[in-house]
């Protein structure tokens, strides 16, 4: 057998740190390490986008509004991406999060209208609970009925949206329907950092902690890495997959509440298409679409990048059409980069075995 030497972890190895710096030429090594750590690579790209946009128009970052928008706008997608990432890592996908979010956003407004004086915390919990319940439906169908998640959640995406449209009718919830204390949550900030951003980052941190330190969190990775091996290991695969969907639904529920607080209105189009942004954020952030690897931090930075780039492109004078194309290019670039790195890794392992 070949002596297997210590090697840097591959870029996609889940876990806290990303790649450890390679040996050899310092500059090359540092660059290599940064590329191996998807989180750092995407973060650098994000900073570059911010820098270019700010150079073009300094209100992007340097005014109070610019700073606030930069931090606040991604908060909803952050929550969705964190949830989506847990599902993707088990080799599934949840396309229903946009519809789930729309339902809980509407529920939030409805509760304030129908139950005057209801405590805000109760409304928040109700939104999370409804999201979790919708996640249970997805999870049970995927984990126990063994139907591919893509199909199931495509179905529930339309069903949940249909329920929301039927329930809301031509209703539209306006800021005047909701108590000012609730709407204030959407604008409140601490040390110039918006409250909703703090909530979103705290959620991401909790998810990261759970995935890293809990047995059930690690098992999500194992299931996505090789479902058959997970069964042979005796892991409770269906239970874990269900858990991932419930957590994802709950976070989508929270995102709906956050949407209501942030924008003050709830229309039937809330969250249309945002599920694909959540998937895109995870992929850009280095979460393998076939499961098993990636971090919630990567998904989070991917989410911030997606939102920020959408806001930066108009400033750079890029027409609307190209804005979508750029997002597409980002996703394709991320996937191609993954493939190249994986091939390089495989070649290195081969050489290692030969040598």
């Amino acid at each position: 057998m070949s002596a297997t030497l210590t090697k840097p972890e591959p870029h996609s190895a889940p876990g806290p740190g990303a790649g450890t710096p390679g040996r050899g030429a310092a500059a090359r090594g540092a660059l290599g390490a940064a590329l191996r750590s998807r989180e750092i690579a995407v973060a650098i790209f994000l900073l570059a986008v911010i820098a270019v946009a700010t150079a073009r128009n300094d209100s992007f970052l340097l005014t109070g509004d610019g700073w606030r928008d930069l931090l606040l706008t991604p908060s909803i997608l952050l929550l969705l991406a964190a949830g989506q990432m847990m599902v993707i890592v088990t080799r599934s996908v949840d396309l229903s999060v946009g519809s789930t979010m729309a339902l809980t956003a509407y529920l939030t407004g409805r509760l304030f209208i129908d139950v005057p004086g209801i405590p805000i915390i109760v409304v928040v919990l109700a939104g999370v609970a409804l999201g979790a319940f919708l996640g249970v439906i997805n999870g049970v169908l995927v984990a126990y009925a063994q139907v591919p998640a893509l199909v199931i959640t495509l179905g529930t995406m339309y069903s949940y949206r249909g329920i929301m449209l039927t329930w809301a009718g031509s209703d539209r919830i306006n800021a005047s329907d909701m108590p000012s204390g609730f709407l204030a949550l959407g604008t409140k900030s601490f040390l110039t950092i918006p409250l909703l951003t703090i909530v979103a980052v705290a959620v991401v941190a909790l998810v990261g902690y759970y995935l890293h330190t809990a047995r059930s969190g690690r098992e999500l990775y194992a299931i996505g890495s090789d479902p058959d091996a997970a069964k042979l290991y005796g892991l409770k695969v269906p239970t874990r997959v269900l858990t991932a969907f419930v957590l994802c639904g709950a976070l989508a529920g929270l995102a709906g509440v956050v949407h209501a607080a942030r924008y003050g209105t709830v229309s039937s189009g809330v969250g249309n298409g945002i599920e694909l942004q959540a998937v895109g954020a995870a992929v850009i952030g280095g979460v393998a679409i076939f499961g098993g690897s990636g971090t919630v931090w990567g998904a989070a930075i991917g989410a911030v990048l997606l939102v920020t780039i959408n806001r930066a492109l108009p400033i750079l004078g890029i027409p609307d059409f190209w804005q979508r194309a750029v997002v597409g290019a980002l996703i394709l670039g991320a996937v191609v980069l993954d493939r190249i790195l994986a091939l390089r890794q495989a070649r290195k392992f081969d050489e290692e075995r030969e040598g």
């Binding site: 057998m1 070949s2 002596a3 297997t4 030497l5 210590t6 090697k7 972890e9 591959p10 996609s12 190895a13 889940p14 876990g15 890293h212 330190t213 809990a214 047995r215 690690r218 098992e219 990775y221 194992a222 996505g224 890495s225 090789d226 058959d228 091996a229 997970a230 069964k231 042979l232 290991y233 005796g234 892991l235 393998a288 098993g292 690897s293 890794q345 495989a346 290195k348 392992f349 081969d350 290692e352 075995r353």
Partner: protein, 530 residues
């Protein structure tokens, strides 16, 4: 339930309670009886070999112990207690570890996580104690004397290292019974020795080991007892010290063959397929043979010997590094199945559900799939045209489906196989390559498939048949080529092809463990030399 230990079927009785006792364990999958009487007694502190031909029921027996399958009947005791595992988690919790030929690890996760997944040591607040996990991995590796970085991902590990991870897992579980299912099949000589050293040290700690292998020299070098199985039944258990490889081969194959599936004599014509010096790095080396019109050539050998790979290379599915394939003397382009089909080859693959048949499509669609281009008009393919072209073939093969538009998935294995053969016969081939023609097919349909092959040969078709079932090879083939570890080790005429001769050529020693060669059966050495 306390066990009174009334049963003493083990030949070598030891005072300690056997770690595993199985008696008359049965298991059927549908109408197919995979295991008819599984019987084995494994003692602590011993290594027990389990041998038998492909399909003898060894894997089924192992999977019952592992909790993958549940037995239909019979006794299963672990450390003296009656057990009935319903999942792999249960057998594992009881203290049983199974190491498969191709270990199943999580490629994305670190070696350490692979060892401890699902039962990581927990610290305060039920958090995974990574430091403890890493320390324990290091100490197990130190004990096994291996140098694997515990933090690296399992992706890219050699098979040998992956098996070491599996063994480390078993040790960390404190497994009292370790089952190794052909662990050496993919290992080099040095790796085999390292594995054996580990196995012996585990035995000396008082654990029971079961070792499944086709390599007799390994069985004789490593094991204390041997249990022989044949056709899903227990044959005998003896101490290694009191038996010989020849005696074991005899027990493995001891049955009547040649009556069940007789091939009718056919006029053997000109060579149709000529293969010369075909090699593919790491898979097979220097393969030369020919198949003549009207002849059935059997490729015999063990699963994994490289037979299917040779067939795939001949047909152009897989690449080869050197050598040539000729049909009627004309070279066939490598890596082009289309060229192979145009040259008159047809290929019925091993796993018909995956490779040969679009199971959700109708029979007609399936049969017409390869002759599409002959059938279409202006690029369109009509159902009527398909049915018309297909009907005579289905008729001739007596495929029992009510209508040709029935989905193939609803048919029995035998009928599915006939559909696959029909599909290829519609191309009017001159050479049929067929891999495991009757795998998973009930006995009745088996002989129908054999009769069909015999008829086809009678009409002048050249047939290259890969089969792991000895009676099938001996009954059907005019000539038998035995493949072992990527090389043809014997070419036997119908008269020379006895079960013993084929088995010996298929299971003989392994160069890289050359020092073990003296225990090879004498007859085998003569045969390889011849």
């Amino acid at each position: 339930m306390p066990d009174p230990l009334t049963k003493a079927s083990a030949p070598a009785s030891t005072p300690a309670t056997p770690v595993l006792e199985m008696a008359d364990v049965r298991k059927s999958f549908g109408p197919v009886a995979a295991l008819r009487s599984g019987t084995i007694t494994v003692h602590p502190g011993s290594i027990h070999a389990l041998v038998g031909e492909n399909g003898a029921g060894k894997s089924t027996l192992i999977k019952i112990v592992a909790g993958v399958h549940r037995r239909d009947g019979g006794t299963l005791r672990f450390e003296g207690r009656d057990v009935d595992f319903t999942s792999t988690a249960e057998s594992k919790a009881a203290g049983i570890a199974v190491i498969y030929q191709e270990p199943t690890l999580f490629p994305d996760l670190s070696v350490t996580e692979n060892i401890f997944m699902g039962r990581q040591p927990l610290g305060r607040g039920r958090r995974i104690d990574r430091a403890a996990m890493l320390a324990e991995t290091r100490s197990i590796f130190a004990r096994l004397g291996v140098d694997i970085d515990p933090k690296r991902p399992a992706l890219g590990l050699s098979i040998a290292d992956q098996q070491i991870i599996e063994i480390a897992k078993a040790i960390s579980l404190d497994a009292r019974l370790l089952i190794m299912d052909e662990p050496t099949a993919a290992l080099s000589g040095v790796e085999v020795e390292r594995l054996f050293a580990v196995a012996r040290s585990l035995r000396d700690e008082g654990r029971g080991l079961v070792f499944i292998s086709h390599r007799f020299e390994e069985v004789f070098a490593l094991c204390d007892q041997v249990t022989v199985m044949r056709d899903g039944e227990y044959v005998a258990t003896t101490a290694i010290a009191s038996t010989t490889p020849d005696a074991i081969v005899e027990m493995m194959v001891g049955r009547e063959v040649g009556e069940l599936f007789p091939k009718q004599p056919a006029t053997i014509g000109e060579p149709v397929l000529q293969v010369e010096g075909l090699s593919s790095a790491g898979t097979f080396r220097d393969i030369s043979f020919e198949v003549r019109a009207g002849e059935i050539v059997g490729l015999a050998g063990l699963v994994g010997a490289g037979r299917s790979e040779i067939a795939r290379a001949v047909f152009g599915v897989d690449r080869y590094d050197a050598g040539s394939v000729r049909m009627h003397g004309k070279a066939v382009k490598p890596r082009r199945p289309r060229a192979a089909i145009a040259a008159g080859m047809a290929f019925v693959p091993e796993d018909r559900r995956k490779q040969g048949l679009v199971v959700d499509n109708s029979v007609a669609h399936n049969v017409a799939a390869v002759i599409r281009t002959k059938l279409d008009k202006l690029g369109l393919l009509t159902t009527a045209a398909e049915n018309k072209a297909v009907a005579p073939w289905a008729d001739r093969l007596e495929v029992k489906t009510n209508a040709l538009d029935m989905a193939a998935t609803t048919m029995s294995g035998g009928n599915q196989q006939k559909v696959v053969i029909a599909k290829w016969l519609a191309t009017e081939p001159e050479l049929l390559i067929i891999d495991e023609p009757t795998r998973g097919i009930d006995v009745g349909t088996k002989s129908e498939v054999h009769r069909l092959l015999s008829d086809l040969a009678g009409q002048g078709l050249a047939i290259l048949m890969i089969s792991s079932e000895l009676p099938e090879v001996l009954g059907m083939a005019d000539r038998v080529l035995v493949v072992r570890e990527g090389e043809i080790t014997a070419e036997l005429s119908r008269e020379q092809a006895t079960p013993e001769a084929v088995m010996k050529a298929a299971t003989a020693g392994h160069e890289s463990t050359g020092e073990l060669a003296p225990v090879l059966p004498d007859a085998l050495l003569k045969e390889v030399g011849a």
